[in-house]
């Protein structure tokens, strides 16, 4: 069971949370007259990274806040968690 560092509550066990999938996917503005293909990208296509992934988590059985996390999908190690609206932290050795 993962141990997740909620930015509001501190370290909490995985069963208090729900994963919300890949983070930082921008919902297209209503006026953007996008073609169906790029709207499908927003709806369905995800990076599915092998390695560090930015994703959303919801502390449903806790503070009930959403937040972001950087998780290595291979080792399940969390590099960081950060609040909605905060900029993703830089990782050592990461390409910006």
């Amino acid at each position: 069971m993962l141990l997740i560092d909620c930015p509001y509550c501190g370290a909490r066990p995985e069963i208090e949370f729900r994963c919300g999938g890949e983070a930082h996917i921008t919902r297209p503005a209503p006026e953007a007259a996008r073609d169906d293909e790029s709207f499908a990208q927003f709806l369905y296509f995800r990076r599915n990274t092998k390695g560090m992934l930015a994703e959303n988590w919801w502390h449903v059985h806790g503070c009930q806040r959403w937040f972001h996390a950087l998780r290595d999908t291979q080792t399940d190690a969390f590099a960081a968690t950060y609040k909605i609206g905060a900029t993703p932290p830089d990782l050592p050795g990461s390409a910006s």
């Binding site: 069971m1 993962l2 141990l3 209503p30 499908a40 959303n56 806040r65």
Partner: protein, 988 residues
């Protein structure tokens, strides 16, 4: 039956308590033992070695080990009905008065097993046989071959009755977990628990702590006997309040972020367990883990190495020193290293004759050689066992010089027990589960922990350290201890690495995996047939895949493969270790979460009232809802018909409390809801309500309900029963992550309000006398409005809404008042009667009202279900807006909501049935759609149905066919409404 004597029990020696004798039965035969015995030690005390039959070949098998790695001695334990368990290892079962154990996998008996014929037919049953045999004729496989093979092979039989025992769970946290309470683990725990602020757990799978010290009879630690040191250390540990000591507890799984699964056997060994659970599953989160799991001894691979009476050498030593049992009087010890020489000395002292067959040349041995000779042991160096004799018990071994030694003829040695030592394998299972990397240590011919990935470190034998003083120091340092040395008796070593050498000669099988009956020849065949990767060899031969997970077989298998491929073991690699380390009962995993406690059973405030009125309940998610109310002598169909007719003719009352309710507050409450819902919200006036659809971004419907405006910035919305949590999650998600600038709050109030729905032409007559502070007349309160006031003196939110198509109200009162209001409403006469969810379903279908999740399946848009008229005229943005514009959502041919009327009015269709153009069309037929809801309608006096059909809206009047289990129904497509098509009754 007279119990056999304990012919192999010594008068002295052992940690058993001879003052507390006990008797259990083995295959019905009484077996005597003492407190502290395992079933295995007591059986061996009686000279009983034959305890089972092997998996495939049904060869006679005996006890091999003294611990949880035992592959052979699997017994059924019978503690009474509902308490039987197969495949228990005799070396782990604690002997207890009244215990009944039975051998497995034989017919008609253990000593006379008809299926031993498999051993003769073994060429057919070699590894992978089921890929090559029993293939023709094809239909025989299911009916004949598979059932026969399953009956002929296998381990125990699954119990046929439900488990009567109780199991519990516990979550726990500690700063340091030490796994294994042998010398390294004890030292680690002593060091780590010095600081009283540090919470330490020390766990061991055995009945008492001490590990190898328990049978290391003559060892000394720091000037005192090892057992005295053990006793003193345990006393120290027990006195520390920051330390939790658990015996009979197996660390079976290493999970993410240092969470360790422990299976604790709490009460099986107790005569009077009282209120204790049988087992407890711990989920322990440790700051760091110290793995002190020890090492397993390796068997030797030689022809006939599986006869009863052939054990691991260290296990013979354990039976001698820990249980006071001498496995045999004429002992042959086959070894490739110095470790079993200690056993030789001790066995001599206990009166056995001892012959050592050492694969090493004299110049490769150490001082242990001279000591053993002086004690009267016969020593044959550069010698190996190449064969054995004896059916129920080993009678003799055939020995020969090893390759390169001066040749001589093989000869036979008579014996009644054999101890084999093929080296030690550090136990890296838990470490590997933590995803740590292994490295191969050539000097000890074993894999040891390399770079750890999680916060753990290994200490002692499980990382290849075998000397006692080094083990103690390693554990002490791992526990954070400093400034300390240990002085302890040396242990003879001199292990000759290189793996098993013998190729099976003649027809005699040399076993690698005892539990799955895998021989060295099988491994050879696998490589010959092209399986090179160790993972493939494992699966093809099934070596290492039995319940013992290859603890005594993996390294030998690996050695054989490496030798055959002429490559180093390090390059051949090792297979993945998977949890559980040893089998864990299903009961332990289930814990308290089963039967009535599997899920919370949720009841509404009026549940008791409904029960009293004869309700039959159905499960809706975890809620209990009244399906119908049975009167004397009624069938369900009759009750539902009566209820649905009564609502349209008089008035009915219905419990709608389970539907989700959410309050939306804040200056942007309306703007927020306007973005969430498909239809317009901003123009909804205070005191009015409207039906709302929630879409996902792709434009598909995922929930629906009522939006009611209580005040300028105060809304009350409802959701489906099953969708309440989902809708709340949806709202919070958008508020927090998408539109945090909106000042709106969503507060769930599902359980605050009991909801009593009153539906039918006489609904107002029933309610008006009960209401105060609200004018509910037709003019003052139109359809789709909301008022607040009091009902029977308690606060009330009254909604005029209808899911039946009749004049209807939903009375919301704070939950504790629900039963009282329900009774007051029912007491009002006027032909009122309660109705359940089934009648509710029928009536809403009569009106063509959809149920999200029934008519929709996540792929329906508002237009598909005939709600295109709700499309908002000018909304800047809402969830699903862009999705609805996709070409897929607007293309012709999409499935649309229609009604179906069977030509035979009594024929109720099957929900989910497929719809086709004609019953005689060519197969495969094209599906036009499916039936979503189907009922017998009392108000229409015929069967009705709703369906989703391609281009449905354009097909009214067409005849189509619907599948039945045995044929077809002919139906007409019609508009999806069967009663009051004008919708005028609801405005009554």
């Amino acid at each position: 039956m007279k119990p056999t004597s304990q012919s192999h029990r010594l008068d002295q020696m052992g940690r058993i308590d001879r003052n507390r004798p006990l008797t259990f039965t083995f295959n019905g035969k009484p077996i005597q033992g003492y407190a502290g015995d395992t079933v295995a030690s007591a059986l061996l005390a009686h000279g009983i070695h034959l305890v089972g039959r092997s998996f495939k070949y049904h060869r006679p098998r005996g006890i091999i080990s003294h611990g949880s790695e035992e592959p052979n001695a699997l017994l059924r334990v019978d503690r009474g009905a509902g308490r039987e368990e197969p495949n228990n290892r005799a070396t782990v079962i604690e002997a207890r008065d009244g215990l009944q154990v039975f051998s497995q996998n034989h017919w008609p008996s253990l000593t006379l097993d008809a299926l031993e014929i498999n051993d003769l037919l073994s060429p057919i049953f070699s590894a992978g046989f089921y890929y090559k045999t029993f293939m023709w004729p094809a239909k025989f496989w299911k009916k004949l071959y598979e059932p026969l093979i399953r009956r002929a092979s296998g381990l125990g039989e699954a119990p046929g009755t439900a488990d009567l025992d109780r199991y519990q769970h516990r979550f726990a946290h500690c700063e340091v977990l030490v796994v294994g309470a042998g010398p390294s683990g004890l030292a680690a725990a002593l060091a780590a628990s010095q600081n009283p602020q540090t919470r330490v757990f020390l766990v061991d799978e055995s009945t008492e702590m001490g590990g190898s010290l328990l049978h290391d009879a003559e060892a000394e630690i720091d000037g005192q006997g090892a057992l005295d040191w053990l006793e003193a250390s345990l006393a120290t540990l027990a006195s520390r309040k920051n330390l939790t000591l658990l015996t009979r507890t197996t660390a079976f799984g290493y999970y993410n972020h240092n969470m360790i699964g422990l299976a604790e056997r709490v009460s099986d060994h107790l005569a009077m367990p009282q209120h204790l659970p049988r087992e407890r599953l711990w989920q322990l989160r440790a700051g760091r883990v110290i793995l002190a799991c020890g090492a397993h001894e390796r068997p030797l691979v030689f022809p006939g190495n599986d006869r009863p009476g052939i054990l691991l050498a260290e296990s013979i030593r354990a039976y001698l020193n820990r249980y006071g049992v001498l496995a045999g009087q004429r002992l042959v010890i086959a070894t490739c290293g110095g470790a079993p020489y200690q056993l030789a000395l001790e066995a001599r002292r206990a009166g056995a004759s001892v012959t050592l067959c050492d694969r090493r040349r004299p110049d490769e041995c150490g001082p242990e050689l001279g000591l053993a000779e002086a004690a009267g042991c016969e020593i044959l160096t550069a010698t190996a066992i190449v064969g054995t004799r004896g059916h129920d018990r080993v009678r003799a071994v055939q020995i020969a010089p090893i390759h390169g030694a001066p040749p001589s003829l093989p000869r036979w040695l008579e014996c009644d027990a054999v101890g084999m030592h093929g080296g030690f394998t550090p136990n890296v299972q838990l470490y590997s589960q933590s995803r740590g990397k292994l490295r191969f240590a050539t000097e000890i011919d074993a894999f040891v922990p390399g770079d750890a990935v999680q916060a753990n470190q290994s200490a002692g034998a499980c990382r290849g350290i075998y000397d006692l003083d080094a083990c103690l120091l390693d554990g002490w340092q791992a526990g954070g201890g400093t400034h300390r040395t240990f002085v302890a008796s040396p242990r003879p070593g001199g292990f000759l690495p290189g793996g098993p050498w013998e190729d099976a000669t003649g027809g005699e099988k040399a076993f690698v995996d005892f539990q799955n009956d895998v021989t060295s020849k099988d491994i050879g065949f696998a490589v010959d047939e092209g399986f090179r990767a160790i993972e493939h060899v494992k699966r093809y031969t099934t070596t290492g895949m039995a319940t013992d997970q290859g603890k005594t077989s993996n390294m030998n298998a690996l050695g054989l493969v490496a030798r055959k491929l002429r490559q180093p073991v390090a390059r051949t690699g090792t297979t993945t270790f998977r949890l559980p380390y040893t089998p864990v009962s299903f009961g332990a995993f289930a814990g308290p979460h089963h039967e009535a406690m599997f899920d919370p059973v949720r009841r509404t405030p009026m549940h008791g009232e409904a029960e009293a009125a004869g309700a039959v309940f159905e499960d809706v998610g975890t809620w209990k809802r009244a399906l119908f109310f049975r009167r004397e002598g009624e069938t369900m169909a009759q009750a539902v018909a009566r209820e649905a007719r009564n609502v349209r003719e008089n008035v009915g009352v219905f419990d709608a409390s389970t539907l989700g309710k959410i309050e939306i507050n804040g200056p942007d409450a309306g703007a927020f809801l306007n973005r969430i819902y498909f239809n317009d919200v901003l123009k909804l006036a205070v005191g009015r309500a409207r039906y709302g659809l929630m879409l996902r971004e792709d434009g598909h419907i995922f929930d629906d309900g009522i939006i009611a405006r209580l005040d300028t910035n105060h809304y009350h919305i409802t959701t489906t029963t099953g969708g309440a949590g989902r809708a709340q999650a949806h709202l919070e998600n958008y508020l927090q992550t998408e539109w945090p600038e909106l000042q709106a709050y969503a507060t769930p109030v599902t359980e605050q309000w009991a909801v009593i729905s009153v539906q039918g032409p006489r609904a107002r007559e029933v309610l008006a006398p009960l209401m105060t502070g609200m004018d509910i007349s037709r003019a003052a309160m139109p359809h789709m409005s909301v008022r607040t006031g009091a009902c029977c003196g308690v606060p009330c939110r009254l909604f005029r809404v209808s899911f039946t198509g009749e004049l209807g109200f939903e009375v919301n009162v704070p939950a504790d008042y629900g039963p009282m209001i329900w009774r007051a409403i029912l007491d009002s006469g006027r032909g009122i009667a309660p109705y359940g969810t089934q009648a509710m379903h029928v009536m809403r279908a009569e009106k063509g009202y959809i149920i999200v999740g029934q008519e929709t399946d996540g792929t329906a848009s508002p237009a598909d279900v005939g709600l295109g008229a709700m499309t908002p005229r000018s909304k800047p943005d809402y969830v699903g807006q862009r999705g609805l514009l996709r070409a897929e959502m607007t293309r012709p041919g999409r499935k649309q909501l229609v009604g179906l009327l069977s030509l035979d009015p009594a024929q109720v269709l099957d929900e989910g049935a497929q719809i086709v153009r004609h019953s005689r069309a060519d197969v495969p037929m094209a599906s036009l759609g499916h039936v979503t809801s189907a009922y017998a309608s009392p108000n229409c006096r015929c069967a009705i149905a709703l369906a989703m059909v391609e281009n449905g809206a354009a097909r009214h009047g067409e005849t189509v066919y619907v599948t039945r289990p045995n044929g077809w129904s002919k139906v007409h497509i019609c508009p999806p409404v069967f009663v009051d098509a004008q919708g005028s009754r609801v405005h009554g």
